[in-house]
Every structure is written in structure tokens, then in C-alpha cells.
Amino acid sequence: MHIPDGYLGPQTFLPAWGVMVAAWGIGMHRVRNRLRSGMVPLLALSAAFCFVIMMFNIPVPGGTTGHAVGAVLAAILLGPWAAMLAVSLALILQAMLFGDGGITAIGANCLTMAVVMPFTGWGVYRLLAGRAPTPRRQWLAGAAAGYLGLNAAALLTAVLFGLQPILAHDAAGRPLYCPFGLGIAVPAMMLEHLLFFGWVEAAVTSAALAWLRRVEPALLTAPATEPAAAGRPVAPRWHRLAWGIVVLALLSPLGLWLPMRFHAGAAWGEWSAEEIGQQLHRTPAGLERLEALWSAPMPDYTLPGQEDAPLHRLSLHYVLAGLLGVGAAAALTTGLAKLLLHPRQKPLPKKTGTLA
């Protein structure tokens, strides 16, 4: 399931990196508050554990072998956030030092195998196992979690592959990256995972849980990253987020420049009535009427009447639109939060932790 470089276009791998940077930030914040300095070796060893168990070959019904990913097992044993960080570290190391999985695709690989898989598996396990599971229930919950976690990750991988012909193609309409659409990528990927590899993950997860329950049941009752010591949580560092948003807003003209450079048309499904008219040789009347209903204050992220301005001026308008949008969204969210939060629920105090 490791996606190599070259299969995903920038329209996919850049957002995946963005999502993962945010997820890693949240994960570090959540784990840091709970484990203090013990987090570093525990996370490192957990990542090494995830790396090594990916080497274990398992016989599959049908006469072949597969290997487990182990992300669901890690999520049940360590908690989903720590598992996300551990599997991410293992995947980054695999890509950087061993060439397994792409560098540009690290974000996408982590999204599928370090986020979707452990969180789905952990959610299914908690749902089925309940608070005080019997051995049989725990075994079944582990199997279902392994099976569904792996298949959810495989489905997302297949969707990422299948979106490539829609998102990135040359002037002649030929795909620039993975050439197979959703109609081919999803069945091809899901068939093998639903029939073979899902069962491997299910068998391994449930059997490992059964073994641990017999040998050391304490490991299953309190995951390694559950609150161990009382400690006041560290308030998030909002100024970093704010600077990150400003930098992203300043980089936003790339969204203008890259499509121009590669002669890309409008994104799939975002055509104007005029563009649809050119494709279909007629414009649906209802669409034309609906399009005239609302005229945006900054159409296409430019000031009104400036659609044909030179590129440098359009870039400035783009940045301006980005900053205005972020400001409006922040104001709206803050207002809603103030309205909805209980009056006694005060914000967290400023930083009290000491960990780096």
C-alpha cells in the first residue's frame, strides 16, 4: 500500500502533506501532555516496533503470503494518536532511508496508513469491545478492527489513485500521473484487500491481542499513552498557527501560476455556464439563470472588473482574498465558539509544560 513517487500529482500530494502536518501537530500536542519526557523513547520504540512487524510474512488462505501493517494493533495498544505518530515515523524512515514509498507521497502514505487505518481500527475496536470485553468479544473486535481498518486505508489509496486522471491531465486530455480512473482503481485495489490482505490483518490483530491478554493483560487495559500522571495541559501555540496561515496566504498565488504554467483548465465540476456551453455546445437554461442569482464581491479571487489584469496584480488580489477569507473565517469561528461554549468554560491558561 506504500505509494511511490510519481503516482500522485501535486493537487493530491500537497494537500495530503498539509493535512498530515496539522495531524502531526495535534498528535504531538495530545501525546506530549500525557507522557512528558517518557514520550520520546516510547514513541521511538513504538515506531521501530511498527517498522519491524511490517517485515513479518503471514501465510494467506489460497497459498500465498502477505505482511501485516500493524497500525490497528498499534492503535489498540498505544492509543490512536501515539499510533499515528509511531506509524508516521516508521513510514518516513522507510521512505527516506530505504526507498520504500515516495518522498512526495509521504503525506498520502501517512494519511492512509497512519491516520485512516489506526483511527478506523481503534474506533471499530472500541465500539465492538466495549469497556469490559470478554476474551471472545475482544478477539472478534480485534479481527473486525484489523479487517475494516486495512480496507478503509486501501479504499482511500484507491480513491487517491482514481482521482489522478480527473485532477491532472495534459492538453490532449491524457493523464499525467496514475492513468486509471476510479472505475478501475477502486475495484482492483479493493478486491485483493477484501479477499486476502484484510484477513491477514484481522488474523494477526486478533491473535496478537489474544496472546497479550493471556500473557500480560495489563497492557490491554491501559494503553501506553493514556493519562499516566496528572499534569496541566499545555495551551496550543496559536501564534505559530497564525504565522503558518499568513505564509500559506502569501504562497496562494501558486494556485494561479501553476495552472497557467501547465495549461490546466477549470477543475472538474467547477465549470462556469460558459465553459459548459463550450463543452456541450449548448448552455442549460436553468444553470444560466442560477449563475446570475449571486455575484460574488471578489469573483475568481480578484477585485470586480480586474479579471484581465496582469499576473502580478492578480497575485496581489489572490493574497488579499486569502487574508480576507482567513480573517472572516477566524472571526466567524470565534464568534460561534463564544456563543456556543458554556460561560463557565474558560480558555486554558498559558503554557505550563516544559517539554520541547
Partner: protein, 326 residues
């Protein structure tokens, strides 16, 4: 914490140390190759396949950086090894991004040819992990093969393969099309180029230097510290798993059933998790006893770039600009 430091046998071991004391003796693959017969086939091969994978990993994590007994490296390999790790990472990263963005088949083919020449000159095909690197282009070829057919990418036929039965929705003939060849060629070239560019710095730089270079390039200190520790303890856990598998293999008298092998592998994972947890606690105590306060120490400053490093980074930036704008 003596077990935390990987041993570097045979190069790191004193010369008077007998071979049987060298811990890396286990890496000499003492088990026979998997049998070919159907009965011996998959079931008996599972243990050996895993052992091979673990041994390959151990060979990589404990590979000595400089082996005095090894043959001298070719000029290009020496040049690449002597470049600063930061310059190599930066150059490879810029070229990798440009390779992922450029739509031109001709540009991809030219840069791919140059990069493969560089990789051959640097002796990358003889690297212990070369099969991991070569797997990506081979897999891309297999995956891209259906894209050459008119069923997937229609267009002008180049080669007629066979007549198809008259079924509604199917074309009359199965052909290889020109647009299909372009699409498949672009995918294979892009994957080969990106895999080689990603592999070049990894194969020509010591892992700890590569991870240190990440810090110099602005990756957060804690992330680099974690990656460094993962790499260090990977060796310990891989060795523990190898011992588990070797013990199982040596105790096996009759062929295993697939079910018992699955149970055994799951128990092995459980045992490895216990081991990793205990080791994590021991390492934490060792760190505390050495004055760890939760703050990652500042990383040692990277050496200043020499002319060759600046030249490599500038050449990569120029090549990337040509790939994107040319």
C-alpha cells in the same frame, strides 16, 4: 544500555575477535534457500522469507560506513559521498519536486537517463538495498501495462494484439495505442526518476548524517531526535525478531500448518511489543539518569558548505528550473 549501541561486525570489531563471537554472524544467512516443491512451498518459506527480510534490514542498519577491506569506490561514488548531506538532500528534494511537476515526456526521459547514469557511476546497483529501489520502476511497468491498451486509453493504434468478441461496449480489436504508450511511458519514467533521486542521498550518506541534515534544513528538533532514535532501536528490535525466527526455525521438526504459523507470528508480534515497551522504559530511565529534562539538545551545527556543495545545489536548482520552465 549496552544493547542500544549497534555492533558493527566485522569492520567495527577488533581484529583479534574470533568470528564465532561476532554477533553479526547471524547475518550470514545460515538457513537454506526456500524449497521449490509445492509441499515445501509457501508454508515452509514463510519463516525464511521473514528471516531474509529481517536480515536485509539488519544489514542496512548496521552497514559499516567505511570498510577498510572493501574495494575502493569509483570516482563518482567518492564525489557523491564527500558532498555535504544538506546539499545532497536539498538538491535531491528540488529535483524530486520538479520531476513530480513536469509534464514533458522528453524532459523526463533526458533527466531520467542522466540520473540513472549518475546512479550507475555511484555504484548504486551494488548497494544492499538496491532491490527495494529497483522494485518501484518494475512495479510501475507492470501497473502501467494495461494503460497502453485501447480499452483504457483509446487513440491511434500502434500494434494490433488480437480481435475481440463482438460484445457491446468493446472495440473490435485489442490494440496498443500511441496515447497509451505516452501515458505509460510518462508514469514509468517519472517513478524511476523520483525513486532514483530519493535513493541517491540515502545510498551515499550515512543515516545519522542524513537525519542531522534534516535538522539543518529546518525540520523540528524533536522530530529529528525521534527519527534518530527510531533508526537506532530498529536494529535492536530487528535483532530480537531475527532471534525469535531463528529459534522457531531451529526447533521445527515437522512442516507447520498455515494456521499455527499465523498464531505464532501474532504471538511474536505480541512478544516484540512487550520487548519494545520494556526497552522504552529502560531507555527513558537511562536518559533521565544522564540528565534528560525533556528538552532536546541543540543539534551540532552543520559544517559550512564547500564549493562542491554549492555547485551541486546550484546545478540542481538550475536543472529544476529548466524542467519546469524549459
Amino acid at each position: 544500555m549496552t544493547h542500544a549501541a549497534p555492533s558493527h561486525c566485522p569492520s567495527a570489531a577488533p581484529p583479534e575477535l574470533p568470528a564465532w563471537l561476532c554477533r553479526d554472524g547471524a547475518m550470514e544467512r545460515p538457513w537454506p534457500k526456500p524449497g521449490r516443491g509445492r509441499r515445501r512451498g509457501v508454508r515452509s518459506a514463510v519463516l525464511r522469507q521473514t528471516l531474509d527480510a529481517l536480515t536485509g534490514l539488519l544489514r542496512l542498519t548496521t552497514a559499516p560506513e567505511t570498510n577498510p577491506t572493501a574495494a575502493p569506490l569509483p570516482f563518482l561514488a567518492r564525489g557523491l559521498r564527500n558532498l555535504d548531506a544538506q546539499a545532497k538532500l536539498l538538491a535531491a528534494g528540488v529535483l524530486l519536486l520538479a520531476s513530480a511537476l513536469t509534464p514533458s515526456l522528453a524532459v523526463l526521459a533526458t533527466v531520467c537517463l542522466l540520473t540513472l547514469t549518475l546512479a550507475t557511476g555511484a555504484g548504486l546497483f551494488r548497494h544492499p538495498a538496491a532491490n527495494w529501489w529497483l522494485l518501484a520502476p518494475l512495479y510501475a511497468m507492470v501497473l502501467a501495462a494495461p494503460a497502453t491498451l485501447n480499452l483504457t486509453v483509446p487513440g491511434d493504434p500502434v500494434l494490433v494484439l488480437c480481435q475481440l468478441p463482438a460484445v457491446r461496449g468493446l472495440p473490435g480489436q485489442l490494440t496498443v495505442t500511441l496515447p497509451g504508450l505516452v501515458v505509460a511511458g510518462r508514469l514509468v519514467l517519472r517513478v524511476t526518476l523520483c525513486a532514483t533521486l530519493a535513493w541517491l542521498p540515502a545510498a551515499t550518506t550515512a543515516p545519522h548524517q542524513l537525519l542531522g541534515a534534516l535538522r539543518g534544513l529546518g525540520v523540528p528538533r524533536l522530530a529529528v531526535l525521534l527519527l534518530n532514535q527510531v533508526f537506532r532501536y530498529l536494529d535492536v528490535l530487528a535483532r530480537a525478531a531475527t532471534e525469535l525466527y531463528l529459534a522457531r526455525l531451529s526447533r521445527r521438526l515437522a512442516p507447520d500448518h498455515a494456521r499455527s504459523l499465523r498464531s505464532w507470528a501474532a504471538a511474536g508480534m505480541g512478544a516484540l511489543f512487550r520487548r519494545s515497551r520494556v526497552l522504552g522504559q529502560e531507555v527513558h530511565l537511562a536518559m533521565l539518569s544522564r540528565g534528560w529534562t525533556g528538552e532536546a539538545h541543540p543539534w551540532p551545527p552543520a559544517p559550512s558548505w564547500r564549493a562542491a556543495d554549492c555547485f551541486a545545489a546550484a546545478a540542481a536548482a538550475l536543472a529544476a528550473a529548466w524542467m519546469l520552465l524549459g
